[in-house]
Each structure stands twice: as C-alpha cells, then as structure tokens.
Amino acid sequence: MAKGASIVQQGVSVEDAIDAQKVLDTRWKYFEIYKEVEVSFPTMVDLTSYNFTLYEHRLGFVPFFEVFSITANAHIAKFNTAGGPNVTNLSVIGGIVSDKDRIYFFGLYLNDDGFSKSRVLIRIYNVDAAKEYQAPLVNVKPNRASRKSSIGAKVIQHGDLNVAKSSELSDYTLTTRGKPLAIQRVGVASSDTSTGFVVKVDHNMGTLPIFLAAPIKLDRSIIGALNPDFVPFLATATTSNLTFSGAQAALIGVFSYIIFKELAEVST
C-alpha cells in the first residue's frame, strides 16, 4: 500500500472516514491549478480566419482548461466542428483549444462569438484530459456522521501566528476547514453509430455527480475549453451513472469528461 498522509474533516475517525469526509488523501489526484493568466484577445473581424497563441503552457500533455471573459462576465468555449470532431483534418476544426504546448485560437471568427478585444482569465489545470484515470472509491455510509469539533489541522503561511484565527482559506497552505476538489475519474468517450449516439459512464458516487466535459479531437491531440456555464449536450444522472446524448440532433463526436469526488457529506 502506498505511503502518504490522510486528513479527515473535524470529528471524524481517519480509519472510518468515507471519501466525502476526507480533506486530504495523498493517493488521490486533485484538480490542481497549473496556471492562471490574464490575456487579451486582439481586435478580430467577422468571418475572418486567425491562428494565434493565447498562452504557452508547455505541459507536455493536453490539459483541461477554461476561459472566463472578464469583459463579458461569462465563460467562453468556442469549438468549431464543421464536419464533426472526428475529422482529422486540422483545417476544419477551430476555436479556443489547447494542445500539449499551448492554448490558442484558430479558425473562423464570427461577430456572434463576441470576444474580440476581450480581457479573459485562462485557468489551466494540471490534469491530462487525454489520459484515463480512476481513483479508489469509498462511499459506504459510516456508522456516524461528522460532528462539529475543534479538532483539525492547519498550516499557516509565512509562520505568522496572527492569522491562526482567520477563517479565510487563502491564509493557509492547508486547513481541514477547506476541502479541495478531488478527481474520481477522467475518461474519453466517443458517441457514434456504434454507441447509438449515447454514452453512459458509471461513477457509483452515491450522489448526483459533480462533472465537467470538453470536446476533444479524435486523436486526443487538441481539446476545447471546459464551460461551467453550459455543457452543450443532454445529460441524465443517477447516483450511480451519467448518460450523455444529443438534444434534437444526435450527439456525435469525442469528448473528455472529468467526474469529481463528492465534496461533503450529503446529510450535513
């Protein structure tokens, strides 16, 4: 068994804790932020093709990322799939995408896209969107739920004891009063005639899942942005699985999904 550290919510036994009661388990992968950077789009003209870099991350893998327009106060996720995302010809796919080295825009810009001259925040996660991953899962209900307690763990920044009573998470490098988003599963799914244009993913979280998804090229070399404001295909969810399908048209293409561990006990 791997060595490491496990920290649980206040008042919970480490041995008995279910996943939702853990604040830290070093066996898990977390939704770490690799980089956050503000950039500006240039002036862009309607019906004009472009190809320019927004940010070079040089991670060596295709990361999940999101783009938030500070100008428009909304997320942007443009991914043109003329001919479908299964097309391998790079020239017919465009939008805001990332490969293993950089985040860039290429393809046709339309005025309706609305981000010409916009100031945006790009958040890049240290997670390979093209690589399957599944974490161990413990979600059997414990004998008793967590209760309020003064027992916990904190590591204060800069050794400044004056912030020991602060309730702000940013004043600590680690605190059991905050719970980071941990990854349960990363996968790549393809919806086509062989699947009946429906994709079903088992998550077995015991609750409705926290998830995100982004379109990815068939060869997994480039990915579109996550969009927390809207996932452009239908989903149905139960406490054990998640199903994706199209709306009035069929869902066609490849997408990378990420399902997160439940953040807190449902009963508290």
Partner: protein, 159 residues
C-alpha cells in the same frame, strides 16, 4: 517563506518532479466553515414569467440567493436536476429554447450567488408565458469555491 506539507512519490525523495502532493499548489476548494454553507442542494420552481411583443422582451426572477461572505466574486459550479426525468444540466437548465429562451442559470455578484430564471424573446415578436410551472421543482446542487472567478487565486507555495 511559506509553510506546508509535501509528500514524495513512492520510493522517491522530495525534489522537483518527485512530489505527489504539495499543499501549496493552488486547487479549487470549498470552505466548510461558512454560514450559509458553500455547498448544498436546494429546490427551486420557476414561475410563469411573461414577455410581450409590444412590451417587455426579457423577464427574470431570482429563485434562490446564497450570500457567500467573501471579499471577491467566487468561482461556482451549479448543477440542475429534474428528478422526474433524471435530466441533469451544468450551469444552465433549459425549459425551452429557440426563438424564445426559457432557462435557469446562475449569477455571481460581489455578495451572493443567485439562482435565476430567465425568459428572453430573441426575436422581440411574441407574447409568451414560461413553461417553468409545468416542470415542477428543479433540484439545484451548488459549490461555491474560495477561488475568485475573475482573478488569479492567491498562491501559498510550500518551500
């Protein structure tokens, strides 16, 4: 200098590239000590909002408000669930869309996270009443992160 916790990968010594966990690395995280809570499930029900060709072309209502108590606007994840059909949506739930968009969404302000019902006549040419009452209650699962939505997250790097 900052303080924190680092864990090396199995069989490795702690050095750059060999760390499996570093408490100083920024992550999306939710504070567990906030009141009201920063994660939970609520139920909302949209009302029969109306738009008129000769008048108002957009109508909105706030169905639920969660004060976040933070000094900045936080990043948020919201999921909508129509339990009868297990219909599950991220960020936006559509009652109907097309010439008229009728949907649930969220908004983050300086003080609160709002769950809103919006009815928009995109062509400004119809009298229309929202379908929301016929859908019944919609579950809303929300997570309010301690990370800003429009700024770089404060980083406490471990040395």
């Amino acid at each position: 200098m900052s303080y924190g916790l680092r864990v090396a990968k199995d069989g490795e010594k702690i050095r750059a590239g060999n760390v499996s966990y570093d408490s100083g690395a920024p992550r999306l995280q939710v504070a567990l000590n906030k009141d009201p809570k920063h994660t939970g499930v609520e139920s909302v029900k949209g009302t029969g909002l109306q738009v008129f060709a000769a008048g108002v072309h957009e109508a909105t209502e706030t169905l639920f408000r969660i004060p976040h108590g933070l000094r900045y606007r936080p990043k948020v994840l919201v999921y909508f669930n129509r339990a009868q059909l297990n219909s599950y949506a991220v960020g936006t739930f559509y009652y109907g869309f097309g010439a008229i968009d009728d949907y649930l969404t969220y908004e983050v302000t300086d003080t609160a996270v709002l769950i809103k019902h919006v009815l928009t006549d995109n062509l400004a040419s119809s009298n229309y009443t929202s379908l929301a009452p016929s859908f019944g209650k919609i579950q809303v699962k929300y997570l309010i992160f301690s990370n800003p939505i429009d700024k770089v997250t404060a980083v406490n790097r471990t040395v």
